[in-house]
Structure formats: C-alpha cells, structure tokens
Symmetry: none
Subunit: 267 residues, 2 copies
C-alpha cells in the first residue's frame, strides 16, 4: 500500500511537489515532513517551506512533525445567529410591518429570518410555515402562532430542510407572504442563491405565495451568486438597511419593487 504508485516523486518541480503533497494529504489525511523529504529527495527544510505555503492558503493544517487536513469548521449557525443582532433587528422590525393580521407566512431558514420570526406580533392570528427548526421552536416558545413545519433532510450549514421532500411539501401549500432568505439580489438579474437545492426550495416558496418579501443586509445588495432563484418581477417588496445606497434603492424601485428602508441603528 505504501509505494505501489508508480509516480516518481523525485525530480519534481517545486509547484508540482506541492500539488503532490496535497494529493498525498488528501489520500491519507496526514503527511509527515520526514517522509516527504525522503520521497521527493529534498531537505526537510524545503518540505517545511512547502507546508508553510500550503497552510497559508488554508490547504492544510500545520502540526508538529508534518501536516493534517484543515479542520472543516464552517462558522457554526450557533455563532452566526448572534453576529449583527441590532442590524438584523432593525431590518426585522421593518419587515414585520408588511404583515397583516390573520395572514399565512412562509419563512425560510436563516439568521435574518429568525430575527423576523422573533419580531412577529403575538395574537395577530398568524400562521407560519417554515423549514427551520430554530424558527419553529422560537415561535412555539412565544405562543400564539400556528406553526407548520416543512420536513426533510436538514442541512446543518443552512439550518433548515431543503431538498426534494421539502419542495414537495411546500408545493402543497399556499401562503400570503413569503420571506425567502436572500443570498444575493441584483436589480438587473433578480434573486440568487448559492446552492442548487437551496435555490429550488426558494423558488417553490415563491411559487406558493401571493407576495414575496426579500430582506437583504447591505452585503447582499447588488451581489450575484451561482444560481438564479427568480426574476426580480417575482419580488414585490425589498427591505434594506438604513445605510443602503440611495442609487441602489432607486434601481430596485425602477423595476417596480417597493423598497422599504429600516431605521438607523446606533451600533
């Protein structure tokens, strides 16, 4: 198992060597500096230099004696939830003002949407459909909401169920208002998502609702991601931060989107 590969590692160019080190690392999960030095017939110093460069690019994790695969720690949702609390609260307050008593809302997973759920008025007879356990739990704890859960495989990085099963359930529902979490929104090209499955789910949400409200922090405005969720024509309302660029707001308004500007925050 050790040297069955016919690859000749000696006489490798520096860059080539780094690629081979990476390949080994990904195969075996770890590399030892001394072994690499022997395989490539260079000094351990050179290997260490390679590892240092790879680590600087985040491609490996340097440890005493060699290197390991980098820890795949995507920022936990738990952490993200508390990132810009004041800004998200301000956005949420404005977004909630679009909700009328007795309506049925379709709320996507996401930290901004969790802030919206937390800001919804109790006792307005609202029905909330969501794919995010966190949001469902939040509304149950507040009491006074009718909560419908969308099932399916829950993607940890998103914090909600997406995928075929979730899409199918959404298709069998109707809502007055939907809040698809925005990954990016652009006046010319509409709403965008990062992930293919996530995009399908958001589209199903929009199709199942009379009106769509996009709530976007500044960094989402004018950005474009990999997959289109929907044309801008499908979006009736856009809620932006107080700090949102004036020209950008005008651009969306020119496309017939009602733009709502949140209050300023001190923080």
């Amino acid at each position: 198992m050790a040297k069955l590969a016919p690859t000749i590692d000696r006489n490798a160019l520096p860059e080539e060597r780094q690629q081979r080190i990476l390949a080994r690392l990904r195969n075996e999960g770890r590399v030892v500096a001394a072994e690499l030095a022997e395989a490539f017939e260079v000094s351990e110093d050179s290997i260490r230099r390679d590892l240092r460069e790879l680590a600087a690019q985040g491609l490996c994790k340097r440890v005493y004696g060699g290197a390991l695969l980098p820890a795949v720690t995507v920022t936990p949702l738990k952490q993200r939830r508390t990132e810009h609390p004041l800004r998200k609260q301000a956005l949420a307050r404005k977004a909630v003002s679009l909700v009328k008593p007795g309506q049925t809302l379709l709320i996507d997973a996401g930290t901004t949407n969790a802030a919206i759920a937390a800001a919804l008025p109790v006792g307005a007879g609202l029905t909330v459909i969501t794919n995010a356990p966190h949001i469902a739990q939040l509304l149950l704890d507040r009491e006074g909401f009718e909560v419908l859960l969308i099932g399916g495989r829950v993607v940890p990085s998103i914090g909600g169920a997406i995928g075929a099963q979730a899409v199918e359930q959404v298709k069998r529902m109707r809502a007055d208002l939907c809040f698809p979490g925005a990954c990016a929104i652009d006046a010319a090209h509409g709403l965008w998502g990062f992930d293919s499955e996530e995009t399908l789910f958001k589209r199903a949400m929009i199709d199942a609702s009379d009106e769509t409200v996009v709530v976007a922090t500044d960094d989402k405005l004018g950005a474009v991601a990999a997959h289109q969720v929907a044309e801008l024509a499908r979006v009736q309302h856009l809620v932006v931060e107080h700090s949102a660029d004036r020209a950008t707001r005008a651009a969306f308004a020119a496309h017939g989107v009602m733009v709502h500007r949140a209050e300023a925050v001190s923080g």
Copy 2:
C-alpha cells in the same frame, strides 16, 4: 468490533494523536490512559498531557485513569423545560447505551426524548429522524448528526408535528430504533397515548422501526390512558428509573421486554 479498524495509531503526530483520542472518546464514551499509551506507543505521561490539553479546551473530562465525555451542559432554558432534569438525564444515559454507531433513530417529541437527544454520542455517525423542532435544533447545534425533520402542523402542547401529514412522512422511512414518548405503559395492555392523533403518529413510528425503546418515568409505569398505541409485544426495550418497583420490572420482563434500569440519582 474493537480492533477491526486498520487504522494505525502508532507513529501518529502529536496533534493527530489528540484528534484520534477524541474520536475514540466520542465513539466509546471513555478512554483509558494505559490503553491509549499502548495503542499509540508513547508513555502514559504523554497521554496524560494530551488529556490535560483536551480537558482545558473542554473537549473531555479528566478522571482518575483516563477521561470521559464532558458533562452535557444543559442550558438554563432547557432545564426549565424539564421538570426533573437529573432523573431524565439518568434515564437518557441508560437509553443511549442501547444505540449503536451508524444507526438511524426515530425520536418522538417530549422532554424525556430531548434529554436522550442531548445525551447521544457525537461522531457515532447517527441519523436522527424527529418531529420535534426542539430536538432537531439541539442536534444541529451539537453538530455531527444527520437530521431528518418530519413536517406537519406543530401542536404546541406536544412540541412536535403530528397529524396525517406527519404520519405519511414517517411511513416512507425506516429506522433501526425508535423512541416513542410514553404517556403510559402497562404490562398487560401495552403502550398508551392521551390523544387520538398522537397515538396514530406513535404507531406509525413503531411500524417504521426494527426495534422500539420505551423510556418511562415512574409515573408512567402501570398507568393506562385513553388510546392504545401498541401491544407490549411491539416493545423490545423498556428503560425505567432506578427507583422503579421491582415487581413491576419483573412483570414487564415476563412479557419478553428487556428492562434496563437507570443509575440512581442523588437529587
């Protein structure tokens, strides 16, 4: 199952060794310093140093002779949710011992079941299907679980989705083990629920699983409610409190149920 893994632990890099120790700990729930020293071919002192560092990061709990998984720190909110936290934790610890790595679990809503979810070992490759947003969220926050959500209308008093839609989704799934929350269990008449719809859901859960584990606090034992969920023959395991009556335990055992008794609690 013990040493079939071809993983070579000797010659591990220091940091790599700590990672492997953590992996072992999460799989087996405990590690012994002497065994680790032999496996990694280093002195026990080095192992102790590793354990000390891991403990400093809160990743394990040092004990005389080795280390254990850190105490499941239940947040104040969750504790308020639970009436008898210590008793339920003791039950949960015993219930979790029935779970094997890689299994798929079907976990019902309920405070006792939430305690079980909180006690599940991370990194054992477990898949959890649940109708309770609270439990789903708890597992997402702990990371390392595959979580499948059962959708439907969420009943606030239960804290989970039941009803036709939920039943339909459960029917399309298979699990190794299921934990239906018990309302009452009786040696002569089996498992009982309070509510008609809830009962249907629990029955669907049991039908979808190879084995059923009922975890019951003392007050559930020998009690009978309005709707029958299942015959006792469908129940393979019963986990009871340390204080459970001896004759009652014998009665269940006589019906072919494996009775597991939790540790005593000081409180």
